[in-house]
Amino acid sequence: MTLSMNTPDFLIERNRERCINCQVCVRQCANEAHGWDAEEEKIFSQDALCVNCHRCVTMCPTHSLSIRKFPLEFRENANWTASTMKAIYKQAETGGILLTGMGTDRPYPVYWDQLLLNASQVTNPSIDPLREPMELKTFLGRKPEQLRVINGKLAEALPPQLELDLPIMFSAMSFGSISLNVAKSLAQAAETLGTFYNTGEGGLHEDLYKYGKNTIVQVASGRFGVHSEYLNAGAAIEIKIGQGAKPGIGGHLPGEKVGVEVSRTRMIPEQSDAISPAPHHDIYSIEDLTQLIFSLKEATNYEKPVIVKIAAVHNVSAIASGIARAGADIIAIDGFRGGTGAAPLRTRDSVGIPIELALAAVDSRLREEGIRNQVSLVVGGSIRNSTDIIKAIALGADAVYVASSALLALGCHMCQKCYTGKCNWGIATQRPELVKRLNPEIGAERATNLLKAWEHEVKEILGGMGINAIESLCGNRLMLRGIGLSDRELNILGVLAAGE
């Protein structure tokens, strides 16, 4: 054995004056950071094992626990920060790439927070959402060049559309990376709310078929769980090219997470690693994408819109334009702050661009080309609250995808350990004793509550702007002003500076 240089990240503090030795914390920490010393009849803890997920803190009936940053300091060094140094110790010990979960935690600018919204004063009245209808209905799907009306009747129906009662959907999270109870919670919430959840690349568990009309089924490079019944089960099909947290990288579901149910749903052997290749090996170019889009349409009788999801990378606007022309009905763009169940740390923290800039660039580009109205645009990658949504739509999105926020609603505490499969909140895990901690009935309620709350806030703010239908916000960048941004950034975002 050699000396390990790893030191704890967190310190578990227990108030012994209040602790009643009930051992709830012991039973709840899957990382085994709490233990029971039967001889001493005393609770003890091992700081090094704690990942700061707050499960024990929240469950402790006497509020005896708190978790702190481990007080150990290195000599101050602005270049060699603690996290940089610890990463080196870890890699020197393991020789492996650093893994992590959820979205990047680096202090990159969050442009949402540098955009301010408008409100009506004097020259036009604000609208009271309690008195007047406030309409958030949104349609996603391809729009023809022209609507043909003959004798007051629609001569040709629109191509298939997704009809959303509010412009918020749950974005892709695969069964495997998340538990079945998460999927059940979100599916139920989507049904209650009149919106959609997304299977991710994990296939569709048999218990979820009944939510088909609120389901977007994903086809990713691994093609896990893809069969004809699956494709036809959902309301739309999403081809996943990339993910914001790890552009250019495939997926890896470790064998431990592949239990009976996951194996059945994904159609792979139990305990085998599920590896999604980085590219789709049948898409090496844009014309290949067209072919896949139309193959999927053919397979589903042209009854379902096809979404193509890409990660926000440097030339995202050109790519999006290509995708629109390739025949996609909806383009989904995932910003680099988006979450993931597992990603190499260095990729997550350095690859891709923020969704705000990507969205602004794509929307402007599609407009310049006169094709923006033909496709729908959905964005995700860290939508944290209702104003992020309003700003996204004002920049030009039709709707947003939320995932991290939805998981937070279900209990996630952003400990970023999803890849360990030991999620104490029953979210990013397949261990049955952990999965059952998330009661899907409660999960559905909480996810529904969150979106309902956001819906109220969106309506409130729209009313303040004097707008009573979401389509009047879409692309309405005059409702935005930038603060603390360079000319160049304002330019890309297509907004004026505050005060202008």
Partner: protein
């Protein structure tokens, strides 16, 4: 009558139900810390969580229609209330002979050896309500109120033929 039903599929074995039950039946029904740290005798829960890896559920007295424990009790301490249907043990009359424990088909009766030997069992919190003057205890038992995952439900019988 209303009974407590366990939902195994969402019981996570945390045993908070036990903690709250024990407290509610202690000398300090409203104070967890005092109940466990100040009271000389260890507060005992009348609900028991069966726990084995991913299988867990909480079990307590079923308040049977034809309760064998009431029939077997040698002193008449164990009674079924004809109005509420609650089976409870009058601890003043209980002599700690454990006959009830012998006949309970569910193993829902525990032993309290700490002082005067008595059979300790669920009373659906009916005594707690009397003791604390707290309205809320009588409506919904504390275990149900405090289960963080809705793994306990207080509802009318789901068993056919049961009252």
């Amino acid at each position: 009558m209303k009974r407590v039903y366990a939902r195994e599929e969402v019981c996570m074995g945390c045993k908070l139900c036990e903690v709250y039950c024990a407290t509610a039946h202690s000398e300090y029904p409203l104070d967890l810390v005092k109940a466990f740290l100040k009271q000389k005798m260890k507060p005992l829960p009348r609900i028991l969580v069966e726990y084995n890896l991913s299988i867990s559920f909480a079990l307590q007295c079923r308040h049977c229609d034809e309760a064998p424990c009431t029939k077997a009790c040698i002193t008449g301490a164990m009674q079924k209330d004809s109005v509420t249907g609650i089976v409870s043990n009058d601890e003043r009359r209980c002599v700690g002979c454990w006959t009830c424990i012998l006949v309970c088909p569910f193993g829902a009766i525990g032993r309290d050896n700490q002082g005067h030997k008595v059979a300790s069992k669920c009373d659906l919190c009916s005594n707690v309500a009397d003791q604390t003057d707290t309205e809320s205890f009588s409506n919904v038992p504390v275990c149900v109120q405090n289960c963080p995952n809705r793994a306990l439900q207080f509802m009318d019988s789901v068993v056919e033929g049961e009252e």
